[in-house]
Symmetry: C2
Subunit: 344 residues, 2 copies
């Protein structure tokens, strides 16, 4: 078994551990945040962690009502802008905690008046020394280059942050996520059979919206890293503003279609894609037929949309890891990559 597959399997335990060890911390932070009355949240990250940030961008605005900005690191590291960050909460997300640019942004943000939080897997990383406060992802050391358990661990911490900063998220529901992931992992065998069909897939698009927009980014990144597939990623709304023109007969489109606010739109899009004779693959827990769909990956259970991001990415991880093997590639050693990437 590849390290990537092993780390995918470790997720229920890693998520449970992260939740249990950080929940009291989150409750403390809730009191602190109420006193500080933050008016802006800025999320800073790169790579897979930036996909976690993209999820946080939606979750935190929806669950807390505080506007969120995804930081453009170069504004700080290259253009040396001085931003007014009074009453801002700046959250850095990095698996290794060693990303030079992310740490530089956190340092600048503190100088510019922000309160800073680190979300990282490494307790002794530089990031934990730079930030005012650290929330630790307890995923255990990441050995695969393609991040999986650290990504879902970051999402888990973002749920705790949303709990701390607002009133929408309930800890009880968050505590149920690890069990849902365990359930979803049972799809591994079915997906292993399914990926044969995509042995020669060279390009595809991954499409989602809202709370799952980040899932599209994360699945497409995994497909690029481990399968060398040219995987586009789009919001379904933006997709209709141009990119749909490139879709032709047989073009594969993977769609996240959780029941909830985005479902009707995704369903309509699948119909339209069927009209173009595209190949469509839906990841969904909805208990209805999707007219025109080519393949369905059925996530078990009734999962409220707002808590679905973690269980839904798991079939995507299984798909990428197993497709890489079917393509004769080693998902643990993507060409041209290392675990820690330095940029400035």
């Amino acid at each position: 078994m590849s390290r990537m597959m092993a780390e995918i399997q470790e997720q229920p335990e890693a998520l449970r551990r992260t939740f249990e060890r950080e929940r009291a911390h989150a409750a403390d932070f809730k009191k602190f945040a109420a006193a500080r009355d933050f008016r802006l949240i800025v999320l800073v990250a790169r790579g897979t962690s930036d996909n976690a940030a993209l999820f946080g961008r939606y979750l935190l605005e929806i669950a807390t009502g505080i506007p969120v900005s995804l930081c453009a690191p170069s504004v700080h590291t290259l253009y040396h802008a001085r931003l007014d960050l009074r009453r801002a909460l700046v959250i850095g997300i990095s698996q290794s905690g060693a990303g030079t640019d992310i740490n530089l942004v956190l340092k600048n943000a503190r100088r510019q008046g922000a309160f800073t939080v680190a979300i990282t897997n490494e307790a002794k990383s530089q990031m934990t020394r730079v930030a005012d406060e650290t929330f630790l992802v307890r995923a255990g050391r990441q050995r695969s280059v393609a991040a999986t358990k650290t990504f879902t661990g970051q999402l888990m911490i973002l749920y705790l942050m949303a709990f701390a900063l607002g009133r929408e998220i309930e800890l009880k529901s968050v505590s149920e996520i690890p069990a849902r992931v365990r359930e979803t992992l049972k799809l591994a065998a079915e997906i292993r059979g399914m990926v044969q069909r995509y042995r020669y897939m060279r390009q595809c698009a991954v499409v989602a919206r809202g709370l799952h927009y980040a899932s599209a980014f994360e699945l497409s990144l995994k497909l690029m890293e481990t399968c060398y597939i040219v995987a586009e990623r789009f919001s379904s709304a933006d997709f209709l503003h141009g990119p749909i023109a490139m879709i032709e007969r047989d073009f594969p489109v993977i769609l996240f279609a959780p029941p909830g606010k985005t479902f009707a739109g995704q369903r309509q899009l699948i119909k339209r894609l069927a009209g173009l004779r595209a190949e469509t693959i839906a990841i969904t827990s909805a208990d209805v037929r999707l007219p025109g769909i080519t393949r369905t990956i059925r996530v078990a259970g009734k999962i409220p949309e707002i808590y679905s991001a973690i269980p839904y990415i798991v079939p995507g991880q299984l798909f990428a890891a197993q497709l890489a093997e079917v393509k004769g590639l080693d998902p643990d050693r993507p060409r041209s990559l290392q675990i820690v990437t330095q940029t400035l």
Copy 2:
């Protein structure tokens, strides 16, 4: 000549008109903004206009020091979040001014305490009635489905907004942009010859950073819409965090490489791509050799980086419009698209 090519050629005049007719308005707005003391700017858009917003995201933070957030429309239209937008300036960008979701976000934002501005090409559109104030792009009616002159017109207004909200942007330098675009249009014949080489290109990546990150998005969108090329777009920094794994011998990568803060990084990336034997195409006004580059599109003149976004997208527009023709496609009638796309 396609409508798209005709509209590309209209840009110097459209930009001059937009600048001349809105400059006094921008000066007035500068006084108003000083009194309001905005603490947050939110940009709301879709499609090509969203690429203009992405440029605004960098320009406005760099030139004004006010944090910027790119709005996720679904947070408002699907999830009905109530955001705290006191002291926020919310800027909607839409060619047609008819995008239902963008207008809905502007309405909500007003209710939540924001001051709202519309940037649109259509003086009588709904957007102008919804927003507190309108800055008009004077590009003339857009007839091509692929937006070009309205995109650069939106960028022109964003320069005026940056002037109004900060101290970095000088109107004199902005006034020189139309002449630079006229100069850049002379590249049309050279690019017409060059695109023959890409007759059978089916996929590519477009890579840029900082103030040109949005240029990568816009060029790749044009390639998707008019040439049906699967065109990925990346920040060069994020590119190294994963996607570079998919690059192999012959894979085409188009890079924006303006002299300035991002140049050293782009140059290094070109070298690395040459090592992977990828095909690289640079759009640059730098007067130095780029080791390992396959093709160079040379933008004339010494253009300060912060004023380079408009002239630099022009060769990209010429590339897409002429490649579409060489591929036997009609850039004015992309399959599956209309000028106005409605989403909610």
